[in-house]
Symmetry: C2
Subunit: 248 residues, 2 copies
């Protein structure tokens, strides 16, 4: 398939939120993410590659030169593959989702992507994110998910709406705070939705009073804090360990 100048301009423009919102499209780069997008239920808008072998495999791919790829890419070192995906806003069905986590105001794209990747690893494929979170289709978020974006359901909604709905469905809301119960003593079930708070401000004032379980990761004197992704990994691992052990 042929490449037009307007295609380059369009793909390039998806680095900006404004144009992502206008078009409803976003990009993912690299062989792994391109393959994940193609094999996912997400609708693919277009695929670009500099690699003939890949083009033979996916004939709908548009062949580009390295220079054209550089013009379209958001990466410092562009890869050979780029896919444009249509963003379909997702909804969680609380009644059928096996496990749910909550992302509350995660503003760093790298953390947002890493937390999605970690949740996916521990089998949590349904997540609510508050409107204060960085946009899910920001290119840095997409790259940091390492493909988990295409395997998970992330619904953006106000906490005032989804937390009462979760509680009505029997969920307990658990999150990390200062001076909570030690995570080493916590008892988690599959009906715990774990809240991951923001790097800078922790759990938001909207969510804080709604917590059923206030958890602290014990540290030693002198140290400052844990990175948001690391804290999330520890809570999600502990949740996984306990719910796995009990075969719930």
């Amino acid at each position: 398939m042929q490449l037009f100048k307007k295609d380059i301009k369009f793909v390039r423009s998806l680095g900006q939120k404004k144009f992502r919102l206008e078009s409803g499209c976003f990009i993912a780069e690299g062989l792994k993410l391109t393959r994940e997008a193609l094999s996912s239920p997400w609708p693919v808008h277009s695929v670009y590659s500099t690699d003939d072998a890949f083009i033979a495999e996916y004939p709908q791919t548009i062949k580009v030169t390295s220079h054209e790829m550089e013009m379209m890419s958001q990466l410092h070192s562009p890869s050979a593959h780029l896919v444009v995906v249509k963003h379909v806003p997702q909804r969680i069905d609380i009644a059928t989702a096996p496990r749910i986590a909550i992302l509350d105001g995660i503003s760093d794209p790298g953390n947002m992507g890493t937390i999605l990747r970690t949740a996916d690893w521990f089998g949590i494929r349904h997540m609510y994110c508050t409107p204060q979170c960085v946009e899910l289709t920001n290119p840095k978020v997409v790259q940091a998910t390492m493909g988990s974006l295409f395997r998970t359901v992330v619904e953006s909604a106000p906490a005032e709406q989804f937390i009462p709905a979760l509680k009505a469905a029997g969920y307990r809301i658990a999150g990390a705070v200062l001076n909570g119960q030690s995570v080493y003593d916590c008892v988690f079930t599959n009906r715990h939705a774990i809240v991951i708070g923001s790097e800078s401000h922790g759990i938001s004032p909207t969510v804080l009073p709604l917590l059923d379980d206030r958890i602290t990761i014990p540290g030693e004197m002198g140290a400052e804090s844990l990175n948001a992704s690391v804290a999330a990994g520890i809570l999600l691992m502990e949740h996984h360990r306990q719910t796995l052990a009990r075969h719930e």
Copy 2:
């Protein structure tokens, strides 16, 4: 104290490894890191600030304008404070160090800094790093440690030297691999040195055959992998939980 043009040039040059090695100095930015450096045993070369209140507190501070700070800073949004610290290569005394971890070829500065910060949180203040790790005084590493750099002892040495020395001192070497024992079943003691492997290549071929305990963090089907900092956080937390519980 007065600022000279050569000072600006010197501080700016510390963004480059070559000039850090030549001068033996590195920079840390922001009020928190500046305060941590000043109250640490590390020798401070010079302190710069745009803030009169801070200068009154630390009279040795050199006052700079925002424009001068911008010229010296390595950050996109420079803070009001910057400190130049002399790098004193550190040595670990295996006989007296209470807990030790090993960083094996961590190449991403953000991960390197985050892992130091996490180890510090869990009370591991002594770490070996292999020569393949990103340089400890890289500004991005320093910023990501959030000050833990100034509270920990990190010795850069070849694994062929320090691992036999650790084993001779009674340490077991534990690290994350594919198809190891589940971390949920591991028994850790203070005489376990945990190896954190690289983001891209895991534990190096030099260290791999020296592992006494091969550990896996169980994940669910389909997910790709865990981020290096997240995996490190989980192993260090589990080590902390078990050794804390036994009051070793």
